[in-house]
Subunit: 286 residues, 4 copies
């Protein structure tokens, strides 16, 4: 049980310059006993309202140095404070506020919401177990208008899909990776120095002047995983899900026109989905 | 990988009387090899477009006798037809069309959408493993305006929640149960004869003339599980998630009025969530 | 300016039996002056927070006898209390809670949310003008699987739609009618006695044993309007919008199968929309 | 009647460099006669499927030079081609694809979706009337963390809002302006040269080093309108709607802490809304 979507804004001021961090937090607990389920005995139950208060208090006291550190702080607090807690998990997601700029000058206290990929993280711990930290990015919508195909696939009597060597590849990415057991990482440093987001974009798009051919969604997913694992040593395992939107070239023959992939219609349902989890030594596919 | 939200309507006619079953299907496969990820070799990949075609063909040929049987048919088809399939999972969800009635007379071909709980099911199979079937109901929003409280809970310095013995209990239920290894069940017969939906409502609400006191969301969740397990012998394990909306009694003192739980405001975020999985011999809590 | 989606529950008790009315209210005002816009002078501005408080206080004091009466009460309150108000409009929409029944017995305090059409109303008044009341139903999803066609339409070089005399008609209805200048109506009595919802369903579906042929969405919209106007004398003008979902018969020829309108796929975007407003003295707009 | 959300992508290639314009189009017509409503005579009805085909054909033939020009092309086509059309309106909205950059180098064919405000436009024409063009931006979420207050407002017995001279101002902007009767405008030139979007951001935020005090949402709305009207001579009338999210400073006294506007909770419902339309010759509505 737990509390979902605890939304709040943490405002930090340095003189006239303001810094905002708005987040949504979900914190879930499992208790060592189940008497509240079986007997209606609530004596060990920490109310979800108290969970919410605790999250707000920790934000007030510690601030949000990084999303990951904040998730760790919450897990540690619950595990060390309450002996009836057997397991704790905390998910933190950021509202993508960016500082406004006017003619290149950053504004001291004005922000705009730019949802081009949402950063999130997760920390979890079982009693007597390690504290494990995950991070990720979701709702990242990307498109390449060429250098994508799908050929040589398995065919049977229900196959009507033609082979294509030049199609649009468009999809929404969900990437989540594990930093393994929690060490004294500076998570924002890893994020920014290693340019994880840039890695993902680069692996998807290829070189700016010519791109790189993708023979399938699966291979694109794998390319993203390989590049992140090779560039960011702290990442242990990375899961990528690519939900793709198919773009159908409109057949205009009966309208008296030739359509050379100029007008395409997105097919939003049904959509294909391709997920893979890749680790350092072995790989796992889902 | 797979295809999500394959939506279609299966229309069945008996003379002038029409029967509709509109569903959303998600089918996911895992292959025995990963060469498409690693090498871009698609020769074993069954395109998600073929998956979609197959689902439509099976609907055409077999109809949808029950949601569960249809999910089983799809899993069996993929497992027996393609030796490269290591695992298959199919989820089927129903659009809640109900036959229109005029003055109590059922209409032969007109329907209304009544989304008061969505029926769904899931079937999955690993190669050389059993075919396992799940069924459930989701998006079921219920409320009781009394006979609910929350008292005697654990308190610490961040507890501000008052004890209550008369509050509104309102939430959205997700229930999913396992029928275990697939046998020759008549799934609609189990559903309708055992009145599973009615069980859930009854366990939530209690007797119509007085209700039954709920000391916590946890206990209500457990009551639902116990009643379903006791009434429906085919159910092996049942998972229930209750996402609750808190109703806050508006403090009207500074408006010069007494508010005896007459005007309440729903607090939609954050919301509490309580999940439990209960089986026949042992219980597991999540 | 104003306050949108003021959500609250009004609970009324008669002994052990409870009655709930949960609503969303939007109240908008226009002031006689614009000095707050031009000069930043707020002295006449009624804060939206006060608007919210006022709505809750009126709910506490008067209850919600009917949605329409509650909207009227709010408009009258603002118009008579504040001389700086030039115009007031209030929209009220109901959360569709229905009393639970167990084996036909109504439950004293348990309810289920059944969103098969949402009742709403609107009241508006200009200073020195009449108070006008509207009511309606929205999000009503209906389908008929035959007795619908579309033939004899205008054709040109960009017409690819075939003529059809047996198709599925499926859509979401929005109906809004005016009761004209506010009189001492018992709005629930009009609603229930005249069975407005049943009128709409009947005009859509036709007789239960055979239906009634619809030659176009337009004619179906008109049939609904004509029936409501003929049965409910208090309705002055009625607007109906029908947003339709096209169901495409899947071509299975290349899959080796004949599909006699048995498997159909809903096309959700783009969707057609057809709107018409019909009054008693014959004016017509689209 | 008409067709809504006609979604398509128009791809334009210049050698290896690709340009994408993905849009959603809604086109609505009113006919000179109403015989399809009254008599079920469809002979003048242009099917919504033909409307869709026409939009796609015009996109193929003309491309989308600007959103506005494309909307004008559609309106002109229907008005000149079909004498039974009495009125036509077309709405066009853009999917915010932006070209990817790698280390500052623009990618030839890869794009990312960045929904920080959606550009849209509208064109409409009555037979024998002028073609009028509107443009706008919506879903633009902005926040300033100081330089905002609300004081000196009207108070009565239901006022509980305290006066504030330092609060967070956060809201979603909808701006729509009229270019008046259609002339041979280069709409993208007006958009980019006059930096309309930058005007809106600047009027909202004030100077980057100190901001500008906003005494109310109303005044901020007016500032945006005044700046756009003063900077962009082609704009005749501008409507701005600001839907604000209130940020509530969490009271932490009973948690033993002082909260100096460091932790705030967004209140998403109910939300205030403030709308104003301002023209060149001073008319004002709310």
């Amino acid at each position: 049980y737990g509390k979902n979507t605890i939304k709040f804004l943490r405002l930090h001021r340095e003189g006239k310059k303001h810094f905002v961090k708005e987040v949504e937090v979900c914190t879930h607990l499992r208790l060592t006993s189940a008497q509240e389920y079986l007997e209606g005995n609530n004596s060990l139950v920490i109310p979800t309202d108290t969970i919410k208060n605790t999250v707000l208090v920790l934000a007030k006291k510690n601030g949000i140095p990084t999303l990951e550190q904040f998730a760790i702080d919450i897990c540690k607090y619950f595990m060390t404070t309450f002996c009836q807690v057997a397991y704790v998990k905390t998910y933190v997601q950021e509202v993508p506020w960016q500082r406004l700029h006017e003619n290149g000058v950053p504004h001291v206290h004005s922000f705009i919401c730019v949802p081009d990929g949402i950063r999130f993280c997760e920390a979890e711990q079982c009693r007597n177990g390690p504290l494990v930290v995950f991070a990720g990015i979701k709702d990242l919508k990307l498109m390449k208008t060429t250098q994508s195909g799908f050929e040589g696939f398995y065919k049977n009597e229900y196959t009507t899909l033609p082979e294509r060597h030049d199609r649009i590849l468009c999809g929404e990415l969900f990437c989540k990776w594990s930093y393994g057991e929690c060490k004294d990482f500076d998570f924002d440093c890893i994020w920014y120095t290693n340019k994880i987001r840039e890695c993902i974009l680069e692996a998807f798009a290829g070189p700016p002047d010519c791109g790189e051919y993708s023979p399938s969604y699966q291979k694109t997913v794998n390319s993203i995983q390989m590049l992140v694992l090779s560039k960011v040593s702290q990442v242990q395992v990375i899961e990528v899900i690519l939900n793709n939107t198919f773009y159908n070239v409109v057949d205009m023959k009966n309208l008296g026109l030739t359509n050379d992939k100029e007008v395409l219609v997105p097919v939003e349902t049904p959509y294909g989905s391709c997920a893979c989890t890749l680790g350092r030594k072995k790989f796992l596919e889902a």
